[in-house]
């Protein structure tokens, strides 16, 4: 009696063990396939970057001649040569780009959060109409307004200066960021504003001392995106900047191609690699705020 029971218990245990083993093996296989797939995808995504990096180090006849990602001979000199490879040094171009980009980011963050605060929290006449108009600007492509805008700035005498690139950023013209922040502000409890009101805050103080610190994730997102978009912007600087001394990095990169008949591809790729570095640094700094902000939003 006892024996039979023990016997069958052992059997059950063995079957269970076998099943567990089988499941583990199939999970392992699924994991392998999943990872292989993801690694392949990553490689496809990152391949252009790798190609650019390797091309920046290759001798110039190898760039389009060889499929290998590995340069036969590493040409570090493309970097210093590229830096000084144009009539004006890249120190200048990076300086110009940083100037335009940093001011644009500051402008975007301040003006868009102002606008978003007004839409999310303040009561005023015509709010809904203003909101609808703002959302409509999201649907108009930049290229459509380019020419009318150019004419306005031409009349103002702003062409050939950085003003057309920077001033609009201080006027909350990026509806996408306004919308992003409105959505974020709306989910902050209104009782916080009310408590602050009783604590003697003006509307501006509520914005500055309560809403903004609690919205760091949205603000950081807006800052990162506007940094990337402005840094990489080619069309805007192309239209408004004509003096090579004012050029931003993307415009300068193109000069490698059009300067004369022999294009210095190696140097161009070297400078392209360098042009990505500020974006990466900026991202690394600001993504911390995104994570910290999310960790903080244990609001209740």
């Amino acid at each position: 009696m006892v024996d039979v029971a023990t016997q069958s218990l052992d059997d059950h245990a063995a079957i269970a063990r076998a099943l567990r083993e089988k499941k583990r093996r199939s999970e392992k296989r699924a994991g392998l396939i999943k990872h292989a797939f993801l690694i392949a995808c990553t490689f496809i995504m990152i391949y252009p970057l790798l190609w650019m990096l390797s091309s920046s180090l290759k001798p110039s006849d190898e760039i389009f001649g060889s499929l290998s990602l590995w340069p036969s001979e590493v040409m570090w000199e493309t970097y210093p040569e590229g830096w000084e490879g144009l009539p004006v040094s890249f120190t200048r171009f990076f300086g110009n780009s940083l100037f335009v980009t940093v001011l644009s980011v500051i402008g975007n963050v301040i003006s868009c959060s102002f606008a978003a605060y007004a839409f999310a929290r303040l009561e005023f006449k015509g709010r809904n109409i203003a909101f609808a108009l703002m959302m409509m600007t999201l649907m108009i492509p930049y290229h459509v307004v380019l020419i009318p805008q150019y004419l306005i700035f031409l009349k103002a005498g702003w062409v050939d200066t950085y003003l057309p690139l920077i001033v609009p950023k201080f006027l909350a013209t990026d509806a996408f960021f306004v919308f992003l922040m409105i959505q974020f502000f709306r989910q902050l409890p209104r009782e916080l504003d009310e408590a602050a009101m009783i604590d003697g805050c003006s509307a501006f103080k509520i914005y500055w001392a309560i809403i903004m610190p609690l919205s760091l994730p949205a603000v950081a997102t807006a800052a990162i995106f506007s940094f990337i978009w402005v840094w990489e912007d080619f069309l805007g600087p192309l239209v408004y900047l004509n003096d090579i001394n004012d050029y931003t990095v993307p415009l300068a990169l193109r000069m490698f191609l059009s300067q004369d008949s022999i294009s210095e591809y190696g140097q161009m790729f070297a400078m392209s690699i360098l042009s990505i570095v500020p974006i990466i640094i900026f991202f690394i700094i600001f993504q911390k705020f995104i994570i910290r902000g999310i960790a903080m939003s244990g609001l209740k």
Partner: protein, 355 residues
Amino acid sequence: MAGVTLNKVVKDYGKLEVIHGIDLEVHSGEFLVLVGPSGCGKSTLLRMIAGLEEISDGTIAIGDRIVNDLPAARRNLSMVFQSYALYPHMSVRKNLAFGLSNLKMPKDEIERRVSEAARVLQINELMDRKPRQLSGGQKQRVAIGRAIVREPELFLFDEPLSNLDAELRVQMRVELAGLYNRLGTTMIYVTHDQVEAMTMATRIVVLSKGYIEQVGTPHELYTRPQNTFVATFIGSPKMNMIEAVVRGGTVSVPDFGDIALGGGAPDGKITVGVRPEQFEIGSSGPITTQSEVTLVEYLGSEMYVHTRLPSGRIVMVKDAGKAEHKIGDKLPLSLIPEHAHYFDADNRRLPIFDA
């Protein structure tokens, strides 16, 4: 300290009127509790006093100053919110000090008040934490601390204890009552928990659908409810309401018998209200009936017996905890006319035996 005077206060949201001309005098130094069912306008009224909600019509005065157009910050009051509304990005210390530094108060005065509040509320160890690192009860203390450091003339509370569990709620209730005794500041307190209302209030205001039903001390509300709404709203379990008819000064209460009301009641419909503890068990009273127990709720020190009268109506009767009742038992009940409440066809109290 200041009283608050509401004069024909109206609130509408567009076409929807939610507060219909309320007159109310809050005495300086009293603990006034606003109670009423959900959606009756308690919060709206409180927020209008606080200055968070515009006043559509009428006036509100704090002390002798009409505050209709005064922003919240300049009304010299503090408010404790149901969700506490602590600033999540500031430490407890900064939460307490924030309002004071907005007033440009000197640093050492802020420091003095904040540490005094921390001492009173026993939150000294929590001062450097962020609100998310606090339990519900601790958040509540901090929220109260933020209110008292301002040393206002008036405290407003909007259901401050409703997010706490039952035990903590009892504890905080005692502490709030203690705080009130110490400070003596005027307090207006919104709740829908009538135990909170009965135990803490100097006076209670019962609201329903944007109207005041009755204002009075807890004792007045319990013993002399002015209408059927207050009669059934105050007191737990509810008052038994028995509809009856008056003819020639005599009401015939179904199941029980006739009561002579004298000239106090006109002919027609009447409602006789009897609290569970106002029935007498036994057949010694002036009018009596037999009943059959259908359910017994035993609470230890007392019990509530649901019992069916001959007509099929079920009433609730309170008895001492040591009594023994079982489902199906026969239970004789007596009704003492002087103990019952009488309401006319418009649900207003008839002061028949109110000497």
